[in-house]
């Protein structure tokens, strides 16, 4: 019953917010296109035999010299920009999504436990979180990538690259989840329904997961949305710096790094199109996050 009212209220709010609607539309379109990239992209940019250097550096169709086969032009290797961007976005979103999921599970788990048990465990977890917060996310990510590069043999590191980047991003994002979860647990813990459950002798794990967690999902969802945008940006930054994904399986950040070389030479589409794409994607996700925050936090309305 309550959920139903929430739902309709959400819908009502959503309908009245053109920004949220537009953002949702863009995000859905981009994410769908990225997920469906192998089926809708004109070519597969990872398949070396599918593109040819002869088509290199063609401008987008609307510019002189454009080729109708390549809607957004081609890069220096003759790869179709549209396909590269779709595949790149797919990779970026996959990494960001996985990193966010890992951060969510890790952060919420630790936060719930810290808030519920308190005491020494809480102190330790929260001090680690404080240390983590003092380090900029990009530094954490660079650090993890650097360490893994140092301890793993090169071939293994190349194979595990995706995992390393995901972990690097996840470890720089879990703190937000942990702190929010812990703070919410403090509030919920003293409430009657939790006290009742404790007195009934239920297992702490059950209390945490079945009673407390559902009631703090709102703020977590907001954080997850905003953090997804951060994760996308973080991945792009890492790839831009060259510690992310290699040039033959480009994510959005790698595409922007490659495009940088053409910044001054008039081949603007190689840099600008992936950059604009990234900005639009991140802004729309952030707008959605804002909307969710307003929704779950009536005081801000």
């Amino acid at each position: 019953m309550l959920a139903k009212i929430r739902e309709s209220e959400a819908l009502w709010l959503f309908r009245r917010s053109p920004a949220a609607m537009l953002a949702a539309l863009i995000a859905v379109v981009i994410i769908t296109a990225a997920v469906l990239a192998p089926w809708i992209a004109p070519t597969n940019p990872y398949d070396l035999s599918s593109f040819s250097l002869i088509d290199g550096l063609l401008p987008p169709v609307w510019q002189d010299g454009g080729d109708p086969r390549f809607l957004l032009g081609t890069d220096d290797q003759g790869r179709d920009m549209l396909s590269s961007i779709l595949y790149g976005a797919r990779l970026s979103l996959a990494i960001a999504g996985m990193a966010m999921a890992v951060a969510l599970v890790l952060g919420v788990g630790l936060g719930l436990a810290a808030g519920y048990f308190g005491g020494r465990f809480d102190a330790i977890v929260m001090r680690i979180a404080d240390i983590q917060l003092a380090l900029p996310a990009i530094l954490t990510a660079l650090l993890i990538d650097g360490i893994s590069r140092g301890i793993l043999p090169r071939e293994l590191h190349d194979d595990l690259r995706l995992g390393v980047i995901t972990l690097a991003i996840a470890l720089s994002l879990w703190v937000n989840f942990a702190r929010t979860a812990r703070a919410s647990v403090f509030v919920e813990r003293s409430k009657d329904y939790v006290q009742a459950a404790i007195m009934m002798g239920q297992h702490p794990l059950r209390i945490m997961l079945r009673h407390i967690l559902p009631n703090i999902l709102g703020p977590l969802l907001v954080i997850a949305t905003v953090d997804l945008a951060s994760a996308i940006l973080l991945e792009a930054t890492l790839s831009f710096l060259g510690v992310g994904l290699p040039a033959d399986s480009p994510s959005l950040g790698t595409l922007i790094r490659i495009g940088m070389q053409y910044l001054l030479s008039g081949e603007w589409w190689i840099l600008w199109i992936p950059t604009i794409f990234l900005v639009v994607l991140v802004v729309s996700i952030n707008l959605l996050g804002d909307f969710l925050r307003d929704l779950f936090n009536p005081g801000l309305r």
Partner: protein, 524 residues
């Protein structure tokens, strides 16, 4: 495509030869993509190191702006009777930067150092049997057979002070580790090293006691390596640096169009080529072909040569500034074989058929090693090659890495195919034969990473070195060029362009070997 020729490149000289009369203090800042790995002139035989150290150290002879050999620390030289070697008369009154005097002992010491175990320049002295001191200012280089080109071949053999090296425990070059000479230098050259911060900044100042007159008004020179070419160009345009080489090919037009900047371009004497792991029994980086090495079959190597479309690489990646190459040295250099001017024509179908004939109808996968900050657009080139090979069913897994660790990887045989650029230090066809085609050994074939070996070429090298009759010599060089082409020992791709960009106020001399010498720089 045929826009430049080597000969014209050699003549592309700024107005720098005019005597610099300006006396004002001038700090000159210059940048490039590759930092010289070491300050030790015998530790790494690579252009970034030798070019840089030619400002600090000197050899017995040197090359001028047109690449002609002229006296340096030796005032004159003459062949010993019966072709037994060469006698060098040394310049008197020359001092090292630390004040020590230069004499025959330093030449002897530098020779011993240059042929020692850890030296990378041993092959310069492949024909030398002994070096003898006649008196304090006369030295004999004894050779096993007559070697008419010897003086020109040691222009980069730089002389260290024996006392300085001994005092600082640097009597042998340190190749993989470091010693005092890795970060410090004490030469006789026109500039002395004042500060060295590897990978960050290196400072030089004129050597007031230099024996020659300096055609430069630079009072302090600051070298900064800038790995990203676009960043380097931005630094030039913002005025942060005065000179950079190379700039991205795509940016040449817009730099030329700007007030206050100019571009000097030509062809470098450097051929970019693909090398194979001839002596590897198996592929190291293949997913499926793990029991043999297809590149040992000349038909497979030929199909690689046919599959690479050099004309398109030139148009898109090199922006029409390169020149296709058919041999290990660029057209126009001494000894270039007129008899073998053509590279295999681009023909993907023929390449595929050839591959089928060799028993690889479904292709195979392998690892392609590639530097990403050494040659112009090197990584883009490797990716383009990979894409072209994919069209004939061969999967190249590109591993692009900074040149810092690249040569070590090649020496450790960590490749199936690799990219190499070669500029013959002597400007003669004998040089690449000695370094790249001869079977690898202690002094010969030292950059023949793939271990290519052909008995006939090994046999011809010495007669080529000692033959005095140009026609007979050329006939032997032609034979070697023919063998290298028939066996597709390497796949030469193109001659790399030379692109220097600088402020209008800077005058330089562009040598076709891409050596940048501060003694010809003036800032107006």
């Amino acid at each position: 495509m045929a826009r430049h020729k080597i000969s014209s490149a050699a003549l592309l000289i700024g107005a720098a030869m005019s005597v610099a009369s300006a006396v004002s203090a001038e700090t000159f800042r210059w940048a490039g993509t590759t930092d010289p790995q070491t300050m030790d002139p015998h530790a790494v035989n690579a252009a970034p190191v030798l070019s840089f150290l030619n400002n600090v150290y000197e050899g017995l002879v040197r090359r001028n702006g047109e690449m002609a050999v002229e006296p340096s620390l030796a005032t004159s030289w003459e062949p010993l009777p019966e072709g037994a070697g060469w006698r060098f008369m040394l310049r008197e009154g020359v001092t090292f930067h630390d004040g020590a005097e230069f004499n025959a002992d330093d030449v002897l010491f530098s020779y011993e150092r240059a042929v020692s175990e850890t030296s990378d320049v041993k092959s310069w002295f492949a024909s030398v049997t002994a070096v003898e001191k006649v008196d304090d200012y006369t030295v004999d280089f004894k050779t096993s057979s007559p070697n008419p080109l010897f003086p020109g071949s040691i222009a980069n053999f730089m002389i260290l002070d024996s006392g300085w090296a001994e005092a600082n425990d640097a009597t042998a070059p340190a190749r993989e580790s470091e010693n005092f000479a890795t970060r410090n230098a004490n030469g006789t050259g026109p500039f002395r090293l004042t500060a060295r911060d590897p990978g960050v900044e290196t400072r030089l100042a004129p050597n007031d006691g230099w024996w020659d007159s300096l055609d430069s008004n630079v009072t302090e020179a600051v070298w900064t390596p800038i790995g990203n070419a676009a960043t380097g160009l931005a630094a030039l345009l913002s005025g942060e640096i005065d000179f950079i080489s190379p700039i991205p090919l795509q940016d040449v037009e817009q730099v030329e169009g700007r007030d206050g900047f100019k571009v000097l371009s030509g062809l470098e004497t450097r051929v970019i080529m693909l090398g194979f792991g001839h002596d590897h029994d198996t592929l190291k980086y293949s997913d499926e072909t793990t029991d043999k090495n297809p590149f040992q079959d000349p038909r497979v190597r030929l199909s690689v040569a046919q599959a690479v479309d050099v004309a398109t690489i030139d148009r898109v990646i090199m922006r029409g500034a390169s020149e296709p190459a058919s041999q290990l040295l660029p057209e126009g250099l001494s000894g270039w074989s007129e008899a073998h001017p053509d590279r295999p024509a681009f023909d993907a179908d023929a390449a595929k058929a050839m591959l089928e004939e060799a028993g690889y109808p479904d292709g195979f996968s392998f690892g392609l090693m590639c530097p990403n900050d050494r040659y112009i657009n090197d990584e883009a080139l490797c990716r383009a090659v990979a894409s072209m090979l994919a069209k004939i069913g061969v999967t190249a897994k590109v591993n692009a890495m900074p040149v810092r660790g690249y040569w070590d990887e090649l020496r450790a045989d960590n490749f199936d195919m690799y990219l190499l650029g070669w500029s013959p230090g002597t400007f003669d066809a004998e040089h690449p034969i000695r370094f790249l085609a001869h079977t690898p050994g202690e002094r010969l074939g030292t950059w023949n990473f793939g271990g290519y070996s052909n008995a006939r070429i090994d046999e011809l090298l010495e007669p080529i070195q000692s033959e005095v009759d140009p026609a007979a010599r050329q006939a032997m060089i032609d034979e070697v060029a023919g063998i290298l082409q028939d066996e597709v020992a390497y796949v030469p791709l193109y001659t790399q362009p030379l692109i220097w960009a600088m402020k209008d106020s800077v005058d330089v001399v562009q040598r076709p070997d891409n050596f940048f010498l501060l003694r010809w720089v003036s800032v107006n």
